[in-house]
Chain length 195, copies 2
């Protein structure tokens, strides 16, 4: 079996995702991106109508990985619900390559760059956060049904809090270069909000 | 009484703070900053040894305003403690010019740009978050002494959670262009964590 060489398009996407995660979308120029991918400058426009179009593609590439995490944690009906929630938080805070703690979450970083960016990117971020929040809410409802949480748990509100507070904890973990903010979030989530 | 015209240095700082808050520190070039300030390009280096030195100054300028908010809310012993905590959260989420919801918190934005930036800036961010967290903890201890919170409240851990979760809520409010994430954070903080 012969491994296919990655196409220029794939090289731009993977090197570009890495560079944008390192520097931020606004600070990484198209020239920086093609240099990181070792492809000619002109090839960028062969594959992407605009930098915005490229930005949407790397968000989707990164979200593909997130969807795999959601499937094996929050939406994994084979495991007890609160264990799935722990698994989801730890997948975000203990990434094997520790990129998450050094670079933060790409969705949070894009959000912080915010309104100077494009409306299309902002709308995509809202869709992504909503899909994550739906998975958290799905898991919380399962925990209520399993008797792991009280019947009157406000699953939707708490799912929203978990998504935003986890983003904040990852943001401070990045500033502090320390896992303490995410560890404290996880500890207090289970000892106070979900008690 | 004659109003003094702002100096070029002051113009660079105020226009630069505004621009960096809009676009991000990495995406706002020195050229962009002096253009926004309507001063000659060369004057930047008269006042700032580097873009990093400028970045530290705008962080401090922004933090001066934060310190005023801390003094009139969290550290204002004339008011009941939990009312001060509400006041602090609302000062962050309902800024009169609504910049906080549109642009997010400058400290959070700088944190998201993170490791590509300078260590000096990252260390300053850690000092700033620590000073804010100390003020939250001061207020929580006051609430315990006043009988507004139980004696066994883990003031230090909860102060850390409040600072990071508020950052996350402001980040999602910016992505959603909506106050709902910060409103839900405030509601659930008082109904679950601080009950």
């Amino acid at each position: 079996m012969v491994m296919q060489k990655p196409s220029n398009r794939e090289r731009i996407l993977s090197a570009g995702l890495r560079l944008v995660h390192e520097r931020g979308f606004g600070a990484a120029s198209v020239r920086d991106i093609v240099e990181a991918a070792s492809v000619p400058l002109g090839s960028f426009t062969n594959y992407f109508a605009s930098k915005e179009a490229f930005g949407l593609e790397i968000l989707n590439l990164y979200f593909d990985r997130t969807r795999e995490v959601l499937a094996r944690t929050l939406r994994n009906d084979a495991l007890p619900p609160l264990e799935r929630l722990h698994g989801y938080i730890q997948a975000n805070t203990q990434a094997p390559d520790s990129d998450k703690s050094r670079l933060g979450c790409l969705f949070g970083n894009f959000s912080a760059e915010g309104s100077y960016g494009s409306d299309a990117i902002r709308h995509r971020l809202v869709e992504i956060f909503t899909e994550i929040q739906d998975a958290v809410e799905y898991c919380l409802h399962a925990a209520v049904r399993a008797g792991e949480l009280p019947q009157d748990t406000e699953c939707s509100d708490i799912a929203s809090l978990i998504v935003s507070s986890l983003q904040g904890a990852m943001l401070l973990a990045k500033a502090y270069r320390s896992p303490i903010p995410t560890e404290q979030f996880e500890k207090l989530l289970f000892s106070t909000v979900l008690r």
